[in-house]
C-alpha cells in the first residue's frame, strides 16, 4: 500500500510538483532567513571578538538615565588613563574615542554604501595587542593623517598619499591618507561601513572630545586574575564610568546588534510563515481536487479490500512525501534567497555585514518540520474526503464523493470563525492591555479572520463573479461567458484559490494603507506647524549633525532665526523620557497651538525653562510655573520650570516629552549635536537662496538643506523603503497563491478534457480556448483581490483608528494598481494551463476516459 501511494506520486509528477511548490517558497523564506541572520550574527560576533582582542577589561562612561545603556554613553575625562596605567595589576592600557566620521568622495559627496555606518575612531599602533586593524598598505596615521579601509578605498579609487576630506563635528577638513587597513579576518565582510582611523589627539579634536575618552581598554599582568584586575580598576573609577571584562564588553556590544538580528529574524520569519499559511490553503485545494479526480482509483482500491484507514494513511503518506520534498527544495532555495535578501537590503539602503552563508542544524530541522507539518495539516481534510469515496464509485461513471457530516454547517461555521476573529482583533486593539496580550489577540484574531473569510469566500464567488464576469463577457463573448461559468461551477475550489490570494492582498493593502496614513499624518503635522524657510539634516536624514552647522549659518548674512534642535534622553517622574533642546528663534520657525504660554515661550526658555505637550502635562500634573527635576546621563539633576504647554498636531511634533534651551542642554550633554537645524532666509525659499546656502555650507558635505516639501519627503522616505521591502516579502505569499491558481487550472483541464474536446469539435478556436482559461483565472484572481483589498481596508482602518497620531488616508492609486496587478497575475498564471488546453488533440480529448 505504501508503494502504491509513492508510485502514484511518481505517476503524477507535474501535479505533485505544482502542489509542492506552494510549500517550497514558504520554506525557502524560513531557511533563507535563518541563513541570513546566522550570517549577520556570525559577522557581528567576529567584529566584536576582533575589537576586544587582547582586552581583559573595558572602561566606558555610564549613563545615569539608563544604567544598562550601551550606546551614546557620555565620554569621561582622560585623566583616568594614567591612573589606570599606574595600577600594579595593569600591564597595558589604551584610551580611545569613536564617533561618526564622514569621508567625502572626489565628487564632493559623502561616501556612503547603503545606510551602513561611517565609523571614525582613534588608533594606537604602539600597542598592537589591542589593535584589531591590519595595515595592508602605507603606514599608521600621524597628525592630520587618516587610515581608511581597503574596501572603501578600492571602491572609490583612493590611494595612499591621496588627500581626502573628512567631516566629523566641524566642517570638512583635508587629511592625507597614510595607509589602508583591513578589519578583522579576511573572510569578514563588514557590509558597507566605512572606516576612518586617526591618532588619538586628531580624533579627539575631530569629535569635539578634547580631553575626553569614550573607552579605555586594559590588559592585565599574567599573574593577576581578571576579578583582581576589575576590582583594582573599580578603586580608581570616577562617577559615571563603569568597568567590564573584555568578554562581557564584547557581549554587551554584540547585544545591540543581536537585538537587531533577532528582530530581523522574527520579521522575516513571519513572512515565511505567512507564505506557508497561504501555501497550506493552496495545498489543501490542490489535494482536494486531485482526490476528486482519483475517485475511481480510491473506489477500486476499496473494492479490492483497502480499508478507509489505509486510504487515509496512503493520502497522508503522499502529503508527507510532498512536504518532505518541498521542504528539502525550499531549504536549498533558501540559500539563494539569503543571497537575494542581502542584495535586496543592500539596494534598499540597509547593507548588512556577512561571513558567508552558514547552514546550521536548526535551519534544517525547523524547515523540514515546518514544511512537513503544514503540508500534512493541510492534507487532513482532503485525506478524510478520500476515505469517504464509496466503493461503488469504481463502477459508476461520474460518481461524486458524498459531503461530510459537517459540510452543511460550513458557511455558518466559517462566517462565525471570521466574526470571532474580528471580536478577538477588536478586543486586542481596544480592550486588552500590555504588549503581549494585545499582539496575541491581534494575531489570533487575524488568523481566524483569514481562515474564516477564506472558507466563507466560496459563498461570495457567485455574486462577485456575476459582476466581474460582465466585462469578460463583453470583451471575449462566448469564452468570457464560459470562463465566468467555469469560475462559479465549483465555488469551493475558486473560493479556496481566491482566499489564498486574498491573504496576500489583504496584507499588501494593510501595509500600504498604514504607510500612506503615517505619511499623510506626518505631512499634515509638518504643514500645520512649519513656518520656517529651510531645514538642515544629515544626508541620510537621521544621523546627528554637528553644531558647527548652526554656528556657520548664524554668522551668514541674511540668515535669521537659526534654530538647532538637539535631542537626548533623561529621567523624570520615575521613567525615561525623550528630551529636546532648541535655540532661540523658534517663534519664527514653528507655529504651535499653545494651551499655556505662547509663541514667545520658544525664545524665552532661559536656563531653567521648559515646555511640554498637553498629554505629558496632564499625566504628570504639570501646569504653567510647575517645577520638577530631571536626571541627565552625566548624573546632574537640574530643576526645570514649565513655561509653556502645547497641543501637538495629529501627526506628532519634532519635540520630545520635555523641551529645554540648547544652552542648558549643551552644558549637560557632550558633545552636543543637532538632529535638525531650521532657519529663515531673507527673501524666503528661492533658487537664489538655495545656491547661496550651498555656498555657505560648502564645508559640510553631510549637511542637506531642504525646504518644507523636500523635508517632508526626505523624512518620510524611509517609509517608502520599508514599504518596498514589505512588498517584496509579501509578493512571496502572492506568488504562492498564484501557483494555487495555476495548479487548479491545470487540474481542472485534466478534468474537463472531454468537455474541451467537445468545445473544440463544435468550433471553438485555440485562441478562444486560451481566452476562456485566461479569463477564468482573471475572474478568480480579481475575486481574491476584491475580497483582499476590502478586508485590508477594514483591518487598517481599525488599526489607524486605534493609533492616536494617525489619520486615515486613502492610497487610491495603489489600490487600483493592486487590482490591475491581480488581473495581470491572473493572466500570467493562466499562460501555462491555457497553452496545455489549447494544445489538446480534439480526437483524443473526446475519447479521454
Amino acid at each position: 500500500m505504501r508503494s502504491v501511494a509513492l508510485r502514484g506520486l511518481l505517476g503524477r509528477k507535474l501535479r505533485t510538483i505544482l502542489t509542492a511548490f506552494a510549500i517550497v517558497l514558504g520554506i525557502a523564506t524560513i531557511s533563507g532567513t535563518f541563513v541570513l541572520t546566522d550570517s549577520i550574527t556570525h559577522a557581528f560576533n567576529a567584529i566584536f571578538t576582533s575589537i576586544y582582542r587582547g582586552t581583559d577589561a573595558s572602561i566606558t562612561g555610564r549613563s545615569a538615565v539608563s544604567v544598562d545603556a550601551t550606546q551614546n554613553l557620555p565620554p569621561f575625562d582622560e585623566s583616568l588613563l594614567p591612573k589606570v596605567k599606574a595600577l600594579p595589576e595593569v600591564q597595558g592600557a589604551i584610551g580611545g574615542v569613536a564617533d561618526i566620521a564622514n569621508l567625502i568622495g572626489k565628487n564632493g559627496k559623502v561616501i556612503s554604501f547603503g545606510g551602513a555606518p561611517h565609523l571614525g575612531f582613534s588608533v594606537d599602533p604602539t600597542q598592537p595587542q589591542f589593535n584589531s586593524l591590519t595595515l595592508v598598505d602605507g603606514k599608521w596615521p600621524g597628525s592630520n593623517e587618516v587610515v581608511i579601509d581597503r574596501s572603501t578605498a578600492h571602491k572609490k579609487d583612493i590611494n595612499v598619499g591621496d588627500t581626502i576630506r573628512i567631516e566629523a563635528q566641524g566642517s570638512a577638513e583635508p587629511f592625507r591618507v597614510s595607509g589602508l587597513v583591513r578589519f578583522g579576518s579576511t573572510s569578514l565582510d563588514i557590509g558597507g561601513a566605512t572606516l576612518a582611523g586617526f591618532d588619538l589627539a586628531t580624533a579627539q579634536r575631530l569629535f569635539h572630545k578634547q580631553g575626553k575618552l569614550d573607552q579605555i581598554r586594559v590588559s592585565k599582568k599574567a599573574a593577576v586574575s581578571e576579578p583582581q584586575l576589575l576590582s583594582a580598576i573599580r578603586e580608581v573609577l570616577p562617577p559615571q564610568t563603569q568597568v567590564k571584562s573584555g568578554i562581557e564588553q564584547a557581549d554587551t556590544d554584540a547585544g545591540d546588534t543581536n537585538a537587531f538580528t533577532s528582530f530581523l529574524q522574527k520579521f522575516l520569519l513571519s513572512f515565511g510563515f505567512i507564505a506557508l499559511f497561504v501555501g497550506a490553503f493552496v495545498i489543501a485545494n490542490s489535494l482536494s481536487i486531485t482526490i476528486t479526480q482519483r475517485t475511481r482509483e480510491f473506489a477500486t482500491l476499496r473494492t479490492i479490500g483497502a480499508s478507509r484507514r489505509q486510504i487515509l494513511r496512503s493520502v497522508l503518506l503522499e502529503s508527507f512525501v510532498i512536504g518532505a520534498l518541498a521542504s528539502l527544495a525550499g531549504l536549498l532555495l533558501g540559500l539563494a534567497l539569503a543571497k537575494f535578501l542581502f542584495w535586496l537590503f543592500d539596494s534598499l539602503g540597509f547593507t548588512l555585514p556577512t561571513t558567508g552563508l552558514p547552514f546550521k542544524g536548526r535551519t534544517i530541522v525547523v524547515s523540514l518540520v515546518a514544511g512537513i507539518l503544514v503540508t500534512m495539516i493541510a492534507s487532513l481534510r482532503p485525506a478524510r474526503r478520500a476515505t469517504r469515496v464509496p466503493p461503488i464509485a469504481a463502477v459508476r461513471e461520474g460518481a461524486t464523493i458524498p459531503p461530510g457530516r459537517f459540510a452543511r454547517y460550513r458557511p455558518v461555521g466559517s462566517a462565525a470563525l471570521a466574526v470571532l476573529g474580528f471580536i478577538a482583533l477588536i478586543f486586542g486593539l481596544f480592550g486588552a492591555s500590555g504588549t503581549g496580550p494585545v499582539l496575541a489577540f491581534m494575531g489570533i484574531g487575524t488568523v481566524l479572520i483569514f481562515v474564516g473569510v477564506a472558507l466563507f469566500s466560496a459563498q461570495l464567488i457567485r455574486p462577485i463573479a456575476a459582476v466581474l464576469g460582465l466585462p469578460a463577457e463583453r470583451l471575449a463573448g462566448a469564452p468570457g461567458v464560459l470562463a465566468r461559468e467555469n469560475a462559479t461551477r465549483n465555488t469551493q475550489r475558486t473560493g479556496s484559490n481566491a482566499g489564498a490570494l486574498m491573504i496576500g492582498l489583504t496584507l499588501v493593502t494593510l501595509v500600504t494603507m498604514l504607510a500612506t496614513s503615517i505619511r499623510a499624518s506626518f505631512f499634515g503635522a509638518v504643514d500645520k506647524i512649519w513656518i520656517a524657510d529651510y531645514a538642515v539634516t544629515a544626508q541620510n536624514n537621521f544621523d546627528l549633525i554637528p553644531t558647527a552647522i548652526d554656528q556657520t549659518l548664524r554668522q551668514a548674512p541674511g540668515v535669521n532665526n537659526v534654530m538647532g534642535v538637539r535631542s537626548g534622553e533623561m529621567r523624570a517622574f520615575g521613567a525615561k523620557h525623550s528630551l529636546s533642546a532648541i535655540q532661540p528663534g523658534g517663534s519664527h520657525i514653528f507655529l504651535l497651538d499653545w494651551t499655556a504660554g505662547s509663541q514667545a515661550t520658544f525664545d524665552t526658555l532661559g536656563p531653567r525653562g521648559a515646555f511640554t505637550d498637553k498629554d505629558f502635562a496632564k499625566k504628570h500634573h504639570l501646569s504653567l510655573g510647575s517645577t520638577f527635576r530631571m536626571l541627565v546621563p552625566g548624573g546632574e539633576q537640574p530643576e526645570l520650570t514649565i513655561k509653556g504647554i502645547f497641543d501637538p498636531p495629529a501627526g506628532g511634533s519634532p519635540f520630545g516629552a520635555i523641551t529645554i534651551s540648547a544652552s542648558t542642554f549643551d552644558k549637560l550633554y557632550t558633545p552636543a549635536q543637532n538632529q535638525f537645524v531650521f532657519f529663515n532666509v531673507d527673501g524666503g525659499v528661492s533658487k537664489a537662496n538655495d545656491a547661496k546656502l550651498d555656498r555657505i555650507l560648502d564645508g559640510f558635505p553631510n549637511a542637506k538643506v531642504q525646504d518644507r516639501d523636500e523635508f517632508k519627503k526626505n523624512q518620510a522616505s524611509f517609509l517608502g523603503n520599508i514599504l518596498n521591502i514589505l512588498y517584496v516579502l509579501l509578493a512571496l505569499s502572492v506568488i504562492v497563491s498564484l501557483f494555487g491558481i495555476v495548479n487548479t487550472l491545470v487540474l481542472t483541464i485534466f478534468e474537463r478534457t472531454r468537455e474541451l474536446g467537445m468545445l473544440r469539435a463544435v468550433g471553438m478556436t485555440r485562441w478562444q480556448v486560451r481566452w476562456m482559461i485566461g479569463l477564468e483565472s482573471v475572474v478568480t484572481a480579481l475575486i481574491g483581490a476584491v475580497i483582499g483589498i476590502a478586508l485590508g481596508i477594514v483591518l487598517s482602518v481599525l488599526l489607524i483608528v486605534r493609533v492616536d497620531f494617525l489619520v486615515v488616508s486613502w492610497p487610491v492609486v495603489s489600490l487600483i494598481v493592486f487590482a490591475l496587478v491581480a488581473v495581470v497575475a491572473g493572466l500570467v498564471a493562466a499562460i501555462f494551463p491555457a497553452q496545455r488546453a489549447a494544445r489538446l488533440n480534439v480526437l483524443q480529448a473526446l475519447q479521454y476516459e
Binding site: 500500500m1 508503494s3 502504491v4 508510485r7 502514484g8 511518481l10 505517476g11 475511481r296 482509483e297 477500486t300 482500491l301 476499496r302 473494492t303 479490492i304 479490500g305 483497502a306 480499508s307 478507509r308 489505509q310 464509496p390 466503493p391 461503488i392 469504481a394 463502477v395 476516459e849
Partner: protein, 203 residues
C-alpha cells in the same frame, strides 16, 4: 442478464456489498453482509470477493504483476508464488508482467484484472460487463478465460452482461426486467438466450 435499466447492475452492486438494499439480505459464506459496518465489509471483501470491471480499473502506476498482487498487498498477506505463476501463465501475461497498463491492450488489461480478481482465491468473483469495452474477438478470449477459471478452480463467478454471447458461457442465466427476475435458463446457446431476451422485451 437483461436490457438496460432492468436492474442487473444494481442487483450485482447489492450482492457485492457495494450498495445497500432497502430490504432483504445478502449472505456470503454464512455472513449477512447487509448488516456489516464498513470495517467488517472491507475485511469480507479481502477474503471473499473479487471484482472485474468493465473499464478494467487498473492502477496506472503499477506494473501488471503489481496490479495482480495488489489485493494481497493491501490485505498484508504473503503472495503464494506458485499460485501467482500459474495465474499469470493461465491469463497469458507471462511476457508482459512488468508492463504498465498504458502499455497493454484492452484485452491484456482485462486479463490483468481477471488475475487480480482471482489472486486471493475469493469465494465469489463479480464481473460487471467484462467484455463491454472490448472488441468481439478479444471479448471471446476473455470469456473463455473466465469460463476456464470456473472449470479449473471451481471459482464461483457472477457476471452481469447484456450480451447474449457472453451469457452463453454461464452455467445458470437469470433474466431481469424492471427490477424483477423474470426468467431462468441453464447453460444455453447464444441463440436460445437471444430468443429469451426477445420474449422478455415483448412482454
Amino acid at each position: 442478464m437483461g436490457p438496460s435499466g432492468s436492474g442487473k447492475s444494481t442487483l450485482m452492486h447489492i450482492l457485492a456489498g457495494l450498495d445497500r438494499p432497502t430490504s432483504g439480505s445478502v449472505t456470503i459464506e454464512g455472513t449477512d453482509i447487509t448488516k456489516l459496518d464498513d470495517t467488517a465489509l472491507t475485511k469480507l471483501r479481502r477474503e471473499h470477493i473479487g471484482f472485474i470491471f468493465q473499464f478494467f480499473n487498473l492502477l496506472p502506476m503499477l506494473s501488471a504483476e503489481e496490479n495482480i498482487t495488489l489485493p494481497l498487498t493491501i490485505a498484508g498477506e504473503k503472495v503464494d508464488h506458485d499460485w501467482l505463476e500459474r495465474l499469470i501463465e493461465s491469463v497469458g501475461l507471462k511476457e508482459r508482467r512488468k508492463h504498465r497498463p498504458s502499455e497493454l491492450s484492452g484485452g491484456q488489461q482485462q486479463r490483468v484484472a481477471i488475475a487480480r480478481a482471482l489472486v486471493s482465491k475469493p469465494t465469489v468473483v463479480f464481473a460487471d460487463e467484462p467484455t463491454g469495452n472490448l472488441d468481439s474477438k478479444t471479448g471471446s478470449e476473455i470469456l473463455e478465460l473466465l469460463r476456464q477459471a470456473v472449470q479449473d478452480t471451481g471459482q464461483t463467478t457472477v457476471m452481469v452482461t447484456h450480451d447474449p454471447r457472453s451469457a452463453s458461457i454461464a452455467d445458470r442465466i437469470l433474466f431481469l426486467a424492471d427490477g424483477n427476475i423474470v426468467k431462468e435458463l441453464p447453460r444455453s446457446e447464444p441463440g436460445v438466450v437471444i430468443q429469451a431476451m426477445e420474449e422478455i422485451s415483448r412482454t
